[in-house]
Structures are given as C-alpha cells and as structure tokens.
Assembly symmetry: C2
Homo-oligomer: 274 residues x 2
C-alpha cells in the first residue's frame, strides 16, 4: 500500500465540517466519495484535525493508504475534476509508511478575519465575521500576546461531556500507573490527547485594510479554542475585560470564565507543520 | 409620495437573477419583502436593468416610490438588517419625482473575471469563470477594442422570440409612421427599446494577477450581450477566430455567428451612470 498526503483548501460554508457524519455533507465524505469514484477503493482520509461547520481551510492536510498506482499529479487532477469547486486539492504527495496527518503534526496556524467596515461586501459575507461596532483594537493586540507559551487552555475549550470524562479516566489511569510504577504520565499534544495543555508560539492581531486579522500558531488546538480566544479578545475590545484578565481566565480552567465562541465564518486553518 | 434611489451590491450566486418570479428567490423579490416588512408598503423597486441568475452587482441601482417618512439612513440600516448578507444596500437617496433607474440610465459598466490559474481557489469559485487552458491574451485585447463605437449587436444578443417579435412590430409601426408623417423613428438606448443598436464607449481586457479581467462601458446592453462578447473573445484567444472576425460577426447580425455565452459567475454589473 502507498501512503499519500493531500493538501487541500476548502470553503467551509456549505459543509457540515470536516468529519464524516450520517446525513450531512462533509469535506471528509466528499473526498472519500471522489477517491472511491476514481480508484474504486474505499478509503477515509485522516485530517490533521477536524474543522467545524462553516470553518475554512487554506491548507488542510490529510493522509490515507491507497493500492492504486495512479500517479500523484493524475490523482490531483482527477480529484479536482470530481470534487465540488468549494474543495480544491492543492497537492498530492507520496509519504513514508506510518506518516499520519494528525499524529505527526508539530504545529498548526489558524487565522480569524473580523470585518470592521460599516457594510460588509456581500462577497465577503461567507468569509469573515462582520463586527462593525467600536472595539479598542490596541487592547486586543495586547490581550492576544497574553496566551503565548504553554498553558492549560481548559477555559477556552468547548465543553464536551465525553471529553471531560475521557480526561478524568486518563488522569485516574495515569495516577494509578504512577502509584504502580512511579512513572510520570506522558503528555501528548495531539487533539485527541487527554490533556488541555497546549503551547502557543505566536498570537497576534493585525489591521489589514477594513479587517482585523488574528493569527495564532501553536502545538495544537482544543475544540473551539481559536473561536473562544477570539470571542474573549472581543470582550477586551469592548472594554468588558482588560488584557490582564486573560491570565486570570487561563488560571480559572473554567469555560464560563471566557467569552462566547466567535462565529465559524471568520476562521481558517492556514497551515500544518510537520 | 417620495421617490427613492437605492444603490446595492449583491452576490448573485444564490439568486435566480434580479427580476421577481414565482417560486424563485430573486433580488427584486427580497428587496420588496424587506420594504414591506419595514414600511408596511407593497412596492416593487425598478432596477437599472435585469441581471441573470448567478450574475453579481457591485452597484446596481433601483428606484421606487414610498409614502413612509423613514429617513434615508434609517431605511438603509433597516434594509441591511432585514436582507440576507448576500444583498447589501450601499446607499438610499431621495431623488426628484420621475427619476427612474432604467429610463434615466445614460451608461453602464460591466466586468467579467476569468481566473487563469491552474487551480481556482475555492473562495473564488462563485465569483469568476475558471479557464486555465491556453489563451492568446494579446489577441483577446485586440479583439475587445473592435466593438467600441455604435453597432447593431444582434449577433451578441440572446435569441428571444418575444423580443424579435416586438422589434418587428416596432419596426413596422415606425415604417408606417414614417409613411404617414415623414418623421424618423426615435432611437432609444434603454434595454426595453426595440432596437439592437448600442454604443460601446470602452471595451478592454487587463491582467490582474491570476485573472484576465474584461471591462466594458456602454450606453446599454442587450440580454446576454456581455457574456456573448466574452464567449466570442475566448474563441479569439483559442485561435478559432481572429480579432478582425469581430467586425464580420457584428455585420452578420446573427447570433449563430458569435461564440457561446460565457458562464454567469464571472459577470458583475459595476456601475450605472445617470
């Protein structure tokens, strides 16, 4: 079997997110359908991470095994012929056996676009969050820097009862292992790992014309983490919080301490580093 | 009654064109519904011209009479709150009684965007025509200039049996009037006028990054005229026609002499001059 790596861009507006789901159109399902049509093989490409409904990608990465000897360039062209124009395969590459889009990801970059103009052009409506109301953008720039470094991002993670239970179970298991073997529990930085600790390498706002653009690069991101960070930075912009409150919210390890989840339309998975 | 002029932008992708139609979502119907909701008045804004399904507008103009004393700025805000994000009202202005978006239009500018890159970004798919195949762009630039001036554009007009009949009737009427009164028949340049003669003030292609952009300004345009011009210029780009053939096609006054209608997604009504 060959191991293949896809790099793809998508307009998330019309998809129910990345992950395959019954009765919903998803990016992963569209890719699997195109691969079946082209090669006759039933494969499920594994993404570097899930993106939610409405979230876009400039360069999502997915890996899968394929028996077909189809050349990588031919596969790219066939996939783009078969997929809807809202998903484009930018590159198909042969990678060593065992390379996995999620497990091998070292860092990811996300971007969030806030349109600040009075009237949002109809051609941008699907691709930004329109927020024309007053914001102290300087305070937001200050707040963004507060999350750089290694932190427990529980306050910014979607409350997911299953996940909370998984973490509790893993912690109990680790504690029991420590009792038995005296070994420290391993820390993982992939999205499925039962810890909410992540490292943020850079986190900044920038004004680009009528847009306020947030770019964040980190070791990994929890579910809704970027949108919850943006929702909290917006509270700083509105004056409900100060930049210094960000540290207090991180320490609280409590989702209710942070701001609301910003809308999906403004969010882009920009790139994945390996 | 007040006479109001709206300037509006829309993403035509999700609309069945401008004109109200039973069982279809159209821009005119969405505007009428929003005006009814805001003012309680049933009015049908009259556009400067119709745009087809999938065609966009950067500054379409529409006029209508209203009894409500609602201030123009308040009406603009209320309309944008009520309309889908794919339609934005850029301006509402009070204009003298009798001013009509179509009848008073002196000139219109359209733009057509052809994406030339190998892979069309998913965020542009709704807003351009993707044509990655070889084109002699220099020949297309030459061909575009051939339509400047006053011409009969029958070869570039959609074949519309009703319209052909209307023109024949009008010509018969004009001939009979000439016989009776010795008067020359008036030439109109609005889209409903029963003549296919139009004046093109400028017509040019320009390379803008990965896009080949056609911009045309004229006294008025027949149904499908810009898309049929672009479809014909594409035949010049492919080498099936020479720039000199454009004159021959104009003189033929026959739709089948020209190229196919280019897809709607690349077309924008840019502005209307009064």
């Amino acid at each position: 079997m060959r191991n293949l790596k896809l790099t793809l861009a998508y307009d998330g507006s019309d998809f129910h997110g990345w992950q395959i789901q019954p009765d919903h159109i998803t990016v992963q399902a569209a890719l699997a359908a195109a691969l079946l049509k082209i090669t006759g093989e039933t494969v499920l490409p594994q993404g570097s991470g899930r993106t939610d409904a409405g979230v876009h990608a400039l360069a999502q990465v997915a890996t899968f095994e394929l028996a077909s000897p189809i050349p990588t360039l031919g596969l790219r062209i066939a996939l783009n012929d078969s997929l809807p124009p809202s998903i484009r395969v930018l590159e198909v590459k042969e990678v060593p056996t065992g390379f996995h889009a999620r497990a091998n990801a070292r860092a990811k970059t996300y971007r969030y676009r806030i349109y600040r103009g009075d009237i949002c052009p109809p051609f941008l409506a699907r691709y930004v969050y329109h927020h024309p109301w007053p914001l102290d953008e300087g305070a937001m720039i200050g707040a963004a820097g507060e999350v750089v470094g290694e932190h427990d991002f529980t306050s910014f993670a979607a409350v997911d009862p299953d996940r909370a239970q998984r973490i509790a179970q893993a912690e109990a298991r680790a504690a029991s292992e420590r009792r038995l073997c005296g070994a420290a529990s391993a820390e993982h930085e992939t999205e499925d790992a039962p810890t909410n600790i992540r490292t943020i390498y850079s986190s900044q706002f920038e004004r680009v014309g009528d847009e306020l653009v947030y770019t964040v690069r980190g070791s990994g991101f929890l579910h809704h983490m970027v949108r919850n960070l943006v929702g909290t930075f917006l509270l700083v912009g509105k004056g409900s919080l100060t930049p210094g409150d960000i540290r207090r919210i991180l320490i609280a390890r409590n989702r209710s301490a942070a701001g609301a989840t910003a809308p999906a339309s403004g969010l882009y998975l920009v790139s994945v580093d390996y």
